[in-house]
């Protein structure tokens, strides 16, 4: 608890709560990262589930770079947002749920890349059952992470 208070009182924490533009700016960047990460993940997932069957799966692989870029943008912007408000966010139940869902979603994303995008890059037609399942699970997990993230604003008040 002392550590959380120290975080929010640190220069980074002070900067976010003291500056007019840091907080809105970080929120925007965090939203942009979400759009890129979850949006491209949705495009890849929908393809794997069979919704755009003529898109060659293997050639979607470069999209993962952009998804990871979105992830890291949000890991950094999210960490800074956390630091500024650490004592409250750390005990916000939605925040804990959000972190768990993101951890699972990232794990699924890595598994998906391994299963659906074999190094040979040749298999295009058939998507395996396992890859489809992972794709469906990843859509649900990211949807859940968005939900938990949005609800943080509401469950914080309960404390």
């Amino acid at each position: 608890m002392a550590f959380l208070a120290w975080l929010s009182g640190s220069p980074v924490g002070e900067w976010v709560s003291g500056s007019t533009w840091a907080y809105p700016g970080l929120l925007f960047v965090h939203t942009l990262g979400l759009g890129v990460l979850v949006g491209l993940n949705a495009a890849v997932g929908l393809r794997l589930l069979g919704f755009a069957p003529n898109v060659p799966v293997a050639d979607m692989e470069p999209l993962f770079q952009y998804m990871w870029a979105g992830f890291w943008v949000n890991a950094v912007s999210g960490s800074v947002l956390f630091i500024a408000d650490a004592p409250k966010k750390a005990v916000n139940p939605s925040f804990i749920v959000k972190l768990v869902l993101i951890a699972l979603a990232v794990w699924v994303m890595r598994a998906l890349k391994r299963h659906a995008f074999p190094q040979s890059g040749t298999s295009n037609g058939v998507v395996s059952r396992g890859a489809r399942l992972l794709a469906a699970v990843s859509l649900v997990l990211w949807g859940g992470a968005i939900t938990a993230g949005r609800l943080m604003a509401y469950t914080a008040a309960l404390k």
């Binding site: 919704f51 003529n54 470069p62």
Partner: protein, 164 residues
């Protein structure tokens, strides 16, 4: 005049229902963010492809993904309307909201240019590795800029404007 309309709207039963049930606003916000991701992700794949980032993807099959972007837009139009009906007075004199609408209108114009001036048809034929014409690249970059801008102004509603 727009202010008096907003005041009138805010007094209606449907507007009061939106703010009366405390779950409606967070539920619509959540859907609004999911819609945002669907829109930016599925439209973004085509934009990135035209700009040359995922160049091996043939363009025509990506049309099927655009439908999901349109679904995202529809979700956001609907949930956005709920916000507007629920609390119209916080939007009508909000500069960020005005810019958000402006950027959406520009995105629509950009889309019209894409479809009405033959660019959409020209890129349809692009196979794996083909370079998109400059006109298509400009439209794709404009699309990304405008949708990211829509997101920016939406996020600024409570900060530059006065929305909650």
């Amino acid at each position: 005049m727009i202010t008096s309309f907003a005041v009138w709207l805010e007094a209606t039963a449907v507007s009061r229902a939106v703010t009366h049930y405390s779950w409606i606003w967070p539920a619509c916000e959540t859907l609004h963010f999911m819609g945002l991701a669907l829109l930016i992700g599925n439209v973004g794949v085509l934009d990135l492809r035209l700009l040359g980032a995922v160049k091996r993807l043939p363009v025509a099959p990506l049309n099927r993904l655009i439908r999901w972007g349109i679904l995202g837009f529809a979700i956001n139009l609907l949930t956005g309307l709920v916000f507007f009906v629920g609390a119209p007075t916080q939007y009508v004199n909000n500069i960020a909201f005005a810019f958000k609408l402006l950027f959406m209108a520009l995105a629509a114009v950009n889309l019209l240019v894409f479809y009405l001036f033959g660019v959409a048809r020209a890129v349809e034929a692009l196979g794996p590795g083909d370079d998109a014409p400059l006109s298509a690249k400009i439209i794709a970059a404009t699309s990304l800029f405008l949708w990211i801008g829509v997101m920016f102004w939406g996020r600024m509603l409570p900060f530059i404007g006065n929305a909650f």
